[in-house]
Structure formats: structure tokens, C-alpha cells
């Protein structure tokens, strides 16, 4: 479905040339749900823009469903759906329903089919009460659900999602993820999801690509990544006394003043157990639990704690 | 994280003003200092992009130029307008434009389109939490320097027109001209404040004030004789633009003026303007009370 070879994008800024994407190769088969992760500024959005045809690469080739995106933008537009997290596709002052109708018209969806499709999407995304509200009156979570519905209304073959869960609360994120999972399963839509939220990846994607500073540093399954890195967490403890902490299953990876960073393996020891052990042995002022994030994993990949090769 | 603000920078140091009458004066002085700094910061921001700033300022001046061109072409084409020659009419235009520029310099951002956004986004709540008058804060934060173009061209038009119309610039006449510009500016500003106050009640409905900020001045561009008694009454008794532009022009030109609008009314102008401004201030306070009382 998607073939990318030697992809490169350089920008000319006041500070000189900035490389957004520095040579990326990958292939995505039809029906795959691929996560495209990386820290901010890593080149995720740039890659998606090139794949959707709104940015011309400096070098390299892209092929999406047999089309060259930037050259055949309008033809590709009929087969793809895009959701940019911060940009809205909907008509701001119109009721949501009207936006959907307009989208239906733009993509040539026959009226009967539109009604059926809309009903189904409204059900899946719980849009019923929102349909007659103007888009500007929706909360971010509600709007994102509406954006997704609009993007998949014309049954695109491929769906590009650029940070769709950014700024959403837990409930909204869950709704979005459930919907995407169902969409990929039931309709076989190829989905490319860019994000820097690790939970998006672990819950949705069978395959993950990590990009940092414009290069692919990981391309493989999520399980492999999780096995390799995602299993440790860190408990940050503020002690009353400045003492060493020695506990089974937890290693002190950092100490500053009265604060200790205790790293432990998720599958060996639960957070609750560790907290209990710490409280048992020491007097604690405060504590927090830190989940591993992409930045953390990227750092560790670079530190050579596992091979950054494709799976 | 090191603080980005140097201690001692910005507001005057030392203990705050005390409560009570003596404290009120000190408070006002402290408030004025705040406004000065705020306005200075706003101005610095504006001037940072000089090209845009220059274009915008020229733009407001250019609008007045086009109005004057229009007036001259029309009145000269007919010879005169209700007994007024073209330069005499341009004098009216100039006084009105200079005054309007002065008023909009401070009041433009209180217009419903912009101010309603400030209120809607909740930024106005922040303004209310500050230890200064919210109006002062709004004005100081949004000084629209580009209207200086309008003031400058208006003043220039007054000078040009006065020369053509043979105005004898005695000191009293000069004072009257300045008073006219200041009072017209005060009226425009006061209407802007009322418009802002109305925004607390209804956003869309408050657009009507534009009829007065722009319409009132447009109307003043022509001698009052041409208008029917209804319009004359409104702009004499309700929003006294006639007193701020037309009557002073009568004084400058040495005209007596029609019955009901004699040149002697110029003595009333400052008082009438102050009265209107007072009403506008009361309206503003009422608007704020409504806003705060109703919760947001």
C-alpha cells in the first residue's frame, strides 16, 4: 500500500538548512495499523505531510496506493483520510451534521449510503447528541470524534492521523482508540498514526516505527519494543532522611538530596508492592510514579541498549 | 529555574499605597505608572515590525485623504454646499478626522468585534483581577498607534483648509480648534467605552455603536444645516458631535451659524463632552457590575 524509499526533506530557515527528514525507508502493507512515534520535532508530521501530498520531498520516493502523493494529490485525496490534531476539517460555524453532509458531497458519497454510514459512525463514536451543535461549541474530545467521523466517512483506503489524541482527556482518548481499532479490524483501513503518546501505540498498533532527528531508529513490533524497554518504571520518592534505599526488585538509578529514583521491572514487581515496601522501611514525604515515555526509550536506544534495526 | 524577571524591573518598588483618602491619591499615581509602563510595552511591540507599522499608519491617513478628495470633488462640482465652500467643508472633515483618530487611538480595541473576543476567551477575567481599573488596563494594553496617521492628516487638513478659507488664527481660535479635536476625540472614546459596556450584555447587538463612532463623525463632515431637525437634535442633545466639530468650525470661520446652533454654543462644548463622558463611564461601570454579578 505504501512504499517509501530514501525520503528526505530539508527546510530553508533563517538559520540555514534544517533537515526535517533525513533518509527514511519503509513499506506498509494494506490493512496494517502502524504507529509512527518520536519526540517532538523528530519529523513525524513532516513525513505524514509528504505521504498525504501536501509537502514535496527534497529527495526520495513515496508511493501511496500506486500514486505519487504530491504529484497526484487530488486523486489520492479521494482515497485517503487525514486528521491533523490541531487543524480542523470541519466547518466551524455550521452544525456537525452539515459538515458531514458537505464532506459527503465533496467525496461523491451517494446520499443513501451517506445516511447509513453516518448513522453507523454516530453510533460508534457516540455523536448523536452532537450532530446539531455547531462545531465551535464542541469540546476538544467531542471535536476529535467528529473529525474522525468526517475523515472516514468516504471510506478511505488509507487514514493518516497526525497526533489525534493530543490534549484529550482519558475518556476521550479511550473512545478514539476503540473506534480506530474497530475501523481497522472491520474495514481493513490502513492506518498510519503519529503520536508521542506511548499508550496510543501499545493499545492500537501491531507495528511501530520510531523516528528521531529525521531518522528511523526502530521499525518492528510493539511487543518487541515493550519486551526490550517498556517494562521498567520509575518510582520517585522524597525521603525524610537522607539515607540509601536498598530494596529487592528496585534499583536506585539516581539520587539528589532527599529524592531517590527507583527503577523496577513492571512484570516482576507491581507499583503497589514497591510502594508498600518503601513505606515499610522508610519515612516518606511524597512519591510519584513515572511511566517510560518515548523520549526515554529513544534515549536508551541511542545509548545502545538494544539494536535500532527493523524487526 | 532562574527567574526571568529581574527584581526591581517593571513596577515601582516599595510598599504599596495605603487605604483611605491619602492612599487613594497614591493609588492613582501608582496606577498611572502602571499604565505608562503597559502602554510603553504595547508601543514597543507595535514598532518592532516597522514596515507593517508604517503601512498601517499611512493607511489610516490615506483614508482621510480619500474622504477629502471626495468632498472637494463633490462640493467644487456644485460650487458650494448649503453656502459652505469646499475648503470650509474640508475644515469640518479635518477636525472630525483628527478627533476621531485621537479617540480611536485609545478606544479602538473596545469595539465589539474585538472586545467580545477578549471577554469570551476569558482574558477579561484576568484583567479584572489586576489592582488597576479594568478600563485603564484595556486602553493601555491596546493603544492603536496607527490612528496617529488619521490625527496627523486631519490636523494637516485643518491647517490647509483654514489657510484656503482665510481663517485668522488668533489665540482663542487656536484654543477652540484644539478643544474641538480633544472633545471630538473624547466623544469617540466615550462611545467606544459604551460599546464595550454593551458587549457585556449582548455581543451582536453592540455592533450598533459603530453607527456613532464612525457615523457620527461622518455626519459631522458636512455642515449641520443640511440635516433635518431629527438628526440635528440627536447629534446635539444625545451625542453632541455638533458641539464638538460644527460649532467650533463656526467660530474658526467667523460664521454666526443658524438659529438653534449659534457659534456661541462653543462655550458649552467642554461641559457637554464631560457630561457625555460621565454617562459613558457610568455605563461602563454598570456593564462591569452586570458581568461580575452574572458570573461569566
Amino acid at each position: 500500500m505504501i512504499e517509501v524509499a530514501g525520503l528526505r526533506k530539508e527546510f530553508r530557515t533563517r538559520r540555514g538548512r534544517v533537515v526535517g527528514v533525513a533518509g527514511v525507508d519503509f513499506e506498509v502493507a494494506a490493512g496494517e495499523f502502524v504507529g509512527y512515534a518520536g519526540p517532538n520535532g523528530a519529523g513525524k508530521s513532516t513525513t505524514v505531510k509528504m505521504m498525504s501530498g501536501i509537502l514535496v520531498p527534497s529527495a526520495g520516493t513515496i508511493n501511496v496506493d500506486g500514486l505519487v502523493p504530491w504529484r497526484e494529490r487530488r486523486r489520492l485525496a479521494r482515497r485517503m483520510g487525514v486528521v491533523f490534531g490541531q487543524r480542523s476539517q470541519l466547518w466551524w460555524d455550521l452544525p456537525v451534521r452539515q459538515s458531514f453532509e458537505l464532506v459527503g458531497h465533496l467525496y461523491g458519497v451517494p446520499r443513501a449510503e451517506l445516511a447509513v454510514r453516518l448513522a453507523r459512525l454516530a453510533e460508534l463514536l457516540d455523536l448523536g447528541p452532537l450532530l446539531d451543535e455547531p462545531v465551535r461549541a464542541l469540546s476538544l474530545g467531542q471535536r476529535m470524534r467528529a473529525e474522525l467521523a468526517a475523515a472516514v466517512l468516504p471510506r478511505p483506503q488509507v487514514l493518516f492521523l497526525d497526533e489525534p489524541t493530543i490534549g484529550l482527556d482519558v475518556e476521550a482518548k479511550a473512545a478514539v482508540r476503540d473506534f480506530l481499532r474497530e475501523l481497522n479490524r472491520a474495514e481493513g483501513t490502513t492506518v498510519i498514526l503519529t503520536t508521542h503518546d506511548l499508550d496510543d501505540i501499545t493499545q492500537l498498533c501491531s507495528r511501530l516505527m520510531i523516528i528521531d532527528h529525521g531518522r528511523l531508529i526502530y521499525d518492528g513490533t510493539v511487543d518487541r519494543l515493550r519486551d526490550a524497554y517498556g517494562t521498567t518504571r520509575v518510582l520517585v520518592v522524597d525521603l525524610v532522611d537522607d539515607v540509601r534505599v536498598e530494596l529487592e526488585g528496585a534499583a536506585t538509578v539516581r539520587a539528589e538530596g532527599h529524592r531517590r529514583w527507583l527503577q523496577f521491572a513492571r512484570d516482576e514487581l507491581s507499583a503497589a508492592e514497591l510502594i508498600a515496601r518503601v513505606l515499610d522501611r522508610h519515612e516518606v514525604v511524597d512519591l510519584t510514579l513515572v511511566e517510560p515515555d518515548i523520549e526515554d526509550i529513544v534515549r536508551r536506544i541511542y545509548r545502545g541498549e538494544a539494536a535500532p534495526a527493523s524487526g | 529555574m532562574a527567574s526571568a524577571v529581574r527584581p526591581g524591573a517593571g513596577l515601582p518598588a516599595g510598599p504599596g499605597p495605603r487605604p483611605g483618602p491619602a492612599g487613594r491619591v497614591a493609588r492613582a499615581r501608582a496606577g498611572a505608572a502602571v499604565y505608562r509602563r503597559l502602554a510603553a510595552a504595547t508601543l514597543r511591540g507595535r514598532v518592532r515590525h516597522p514596515a507593517g507599522f508604517v503601512l498601517r499608519t499611512l493607511g489610516t491617513g490615506l483614508v482621510v485623504v480619500t474622504e477629502i478628495v471626495g468632498v472637494v470633488l463633490v462640493v467644487e462640482g456644485f460650487g458650494s454646499l448649503a453656502g459652505w465652500t469646499a475648503p470650509e467643508v474640508v475644515l469640518l472633515v479635518g477636525l472630525g478626522a483628527a478627533g476621531q483618530g485621537l479617540g480611536l487611538l485609545f478606544g479602538d480595541r473596545l469595539e465589539p468585534a474585538f472586545f467580545s473576543e477578549v471577554v469570551r476567551k476569558g482574558s477579561f477575567d484576568q484583567v479584572l483581577t489586576r489592582p488597576t481599573s479594568p478600563l485603564g488596563w484595556m486602553v493601555a494594553s491596546y493603544v492603536e498607534v496607527r490612528f496617529l496617521g488619521r490625527v496627523a492628516v486631519g490636523a494637516g487638513a485643518v491647517v490647509w483648509a483654514a489657510d484656503r478659507a482665510g481663517v485668522d488664527w488668533t489665540l482663542p481660535r487656536l484654543l477652540v480648534a484644539v478643544m474641538a479635536v480633544v472633545c471630538c476625540g473624547a466623544l469617540v472614546f466615550a462611545i467606544s467605552v459604551l460599546g464595550g459596556a454593551l458587549t457585556f450584555y449582548t455581543v451582536e447587538g453592540s455592533e450598533v455603536v459603530n453607527i456613532f463612532t464612525y457615523g457620527g463623525v461622518s455626519l459631522s463632515c458636512y455642515p449641520m444645516e443640511i440635516y433635518g431637525p431629527g438628526l440635528r437634535a440627536v447629534f446635539l442633545w444625545v451625542v453632541p458631535f455638533a458641539l464638538a466639530v460644527y460649532v467650533p468650525a463656526l467660530v474658526l470661520l467667523g460664521r454666526a451659524g443658524p438659529p438653534g446652533l449659534p457659534a456661541a454654543l462653543a462655550w458649552v462644548t467642554p461641559a457637554a463632552t464631560a457630561l457625555f463622558a460621565g454617562l459613558a463611564a457610568a455605563g461602563w461601570r454598570a456593564g462591569i457590575r452586570h458581568y461580575v454579578g452574572a458570573g461569566s
Binding site: K9, F11, T46, K49, G53, I54, L55, V56, W70, R73, R74, R75, A77, R78, V82, F84, R87, S88, Q89, W91, D93, Q98, E101, L102, H105, L106, G108 | A51, G52, F53, L55, R56, L58, G59, L62, V63, V65, T66, V69, G70, V74, V75, G77, F78, L81, A82, R146, T202, E204, E207, V208, I211, G215, S218, L219, Y222, I226, Y227, G228, L231
Partner: protein
């Protein structure tokens, strides 16, 4: 807009843009209070200008300065009020602002023609304005004042057609100004300088018939003529076929110019990134 591999579906093509037209119309209809204050504004400025021309013609009743008599001048005044909301539309900043903020890029991910979509949407909004805000002041003035409006159905139709053509030209002029936002985020400064000139040359300050010969020639040769003075001339019955012809010519010329500009802008956007 031919779908892949199938014959060009004219019906669907037309329906899509009609849907946008209708959406624009309905959107504008939600601004009820703005309509009222717009009408009041029209009324006020119309009254002031009417008083002006009455006063001017009182001095010289038989005058036909610039070829216009009192009835023509009054017609001009109220046609300006009718055209005001169609030319200097309240949504004038939406397009350049969408470009500046980057929201416009979404249009590039859609199939179809972004320019036509914008035209359809804005025309829908314009028709809504025309329905009430243009006709009410004009008809009200016609009832109370000696205007020189046509009385035959054909004449009225021509005026309506001319107003529609003027609205399309106005859209194209606004669009061209809006494309400045592709190159400079401070597009307002350009507008601030350009508007006074447009304002005068298009005849919003005084009828161009009062201009000295050279200036009048400039104004009549410019696309601005098609935006305001053309419908005025059609209304008072002066050089009707020439005015309409000029309007059609500018609709085409500015249409091409604005589409080409958009295409260039998009190419730049797509190569350099938003």
C-alpha cells in the same frame, strides 16, 4: 473534478457546490442581530448621504454634475448601501486568517477545487446578505424618495444580475487580497494601504462620475468599476450593455488571476512547508 476511471459526473459536481452555496447561505442566516445592526448602519449612512445630495442639488436644481441628476445621485446613494455588505463582506478576514494560521492546508487534502469551493461558500453567504440587507434599504428608499430605479421587470432583473456579477468580482478581489497571507503574515498592513485607494476608485466615497476625466478613466478601466459603479449605472440606466459587458470581462479576468495566484501559492506552500 473527474472521479477516477469513471465518466465525469456532472450532476454530483454541481450538487457538491450547490451544497456549499446552501451551507454558506444558512450560516449567514444565523447572524440575526448583526443583520439588524447592519440595516441600521445602512439606514444611517444612507440618510446622511441623501441629505448631502439634497443640499447640493438645492443650490443648482437643474444641475447634472457628472451626468447625474438628483434622482440618479439618490439612486447611487442607496445602491451603495445595498452593495456595501456584498463587497466589504463581514467575513473578509476569514480566508487570509485561515491561510496565516495554516488551517487552509486542510483544503489541499480534499478532492475537488478549493477556489470553486470558496466561491460557492462565499456566494451563499452573499446571497443571504443580498436577500435582506440589500433589498430592504433599497426598496424602502425607493418607496420614499424619487429614485431612478428601473420599473420594468427586465430592468429590475438586469440590476439583480449586475449585483450578482459585482459580488463575484468582489469575491475575486477579496480573494486576491487574501492570497497576500500566503507570502506575508502581516497581510493586514497591505489591506490597510490598499483599502482607501479601492474605496475611492470603486466609487464608495463619491460616484466616479464626479471624478476629473483622467481619474474617471482610470476608475472605469479598473476591475473596481465592476464591483460598484457598474450596478449603479445599470440601475440608473446609463450605458447598461457596456457596464454589464465590463463586469463579465472582469469576472473572467480576475477569476483567472485569482486561480493562478492560488496555484502559485499552493505550489510554494507544498514545496516549502506550512
Amino acid at each position: 473534478m473527474a472521479p477516477d476511471g469513471t465518466v465525469w459526473d456532472t450532476a454530483r459536481f454541481v450538487r457538491a457546490y450547490l451544497a456549499l452555496l446552501s451551507a454558506g447561505f444558512r450560516r449567514q442566516a444565523t447572524y440575526r442581530l448583526a443583520l439588524v445592526s447592519g440595516l441600521l448602519t445602512n439606514l444611517f449612512f444612507g440618510l446622511v448621504r441623501t441629505a448631502l445630495f439634497y443640499a447640493l442639488y438645492r443650490e443648482r436644481p437643474e444641475a447634472a454634475v457628472g451626468g447625474l441628476d438628483l434622482a440618479d445621485a439618490l439612486t447611487y446613494v442607496w445602491m451603495v448601501q445595498a452593495m456595501f455588505g456584498l463587497v466589504w463582506a463581514s467575513w473578509i478576514w476569514e480566508f487570509p486568517e485561515a491561510v496565516r494560521s495554516g488551517d487552509f492546508v486542510v483544503e489541499l487534502t480534499r478532492p475537488g477545487d478549493p477556489w470553486l469551493r470558496q466561491l460557492a461558500y462565499e456566494l451563499g453567504r452573499t446571497f443571504n446578505q443580498m436577500l435582506l440587507r440589500s433589498t430592504v434599504p433599497l426598496l424602502g428608499a425607493a418607496a420614499l424618495l424619487p429614485l431612478a430605479l428601473p420599473t420594468t421587470p427586465a430592468g429590475v432583473l438586469l440590476v439583480a444580475v449586475s449585483m450578482v456579477l459585482a459580488s463575484v468580482v468582489a469575491f475575486e478581489v477579496r480573494f486576491l487580497f487574501g492570497t497576500v497571507a500566503f507570502w506575508s503574515s502581516d497581510y493586514r498592513a497591505v489591506f490597510n494601504i490598499g483599502f482607501p485607494v479601492l474605496w475611492l476608485l470603486s466609487g464608495f466615497v463619491i460616484p466616479i462620475d464626479y471624478f476629473p476625466a483622467a481619474l474617471r478613466a482610470l476608475a472605469e478601466g479598473s476591475p473596481l468599476y465592476a464591483m460598484l459603479m457598474a450596478p449603479v449605472h445599470v440601475a440608473v440606466g446609463q450605458s447598461v450593455p457596456a457596464s454589464l459587458a465590463r463586469q463579465v470581462a472582469w469576472v473572467v479576468a480576475l477569476g483567472v488571476a485569482s486561480r493562478v495566484t492560488l496555484s502559485l501559492a499552493c505550489r510554494r506552500l507544498v514545496v516549502h512547508g506550512g
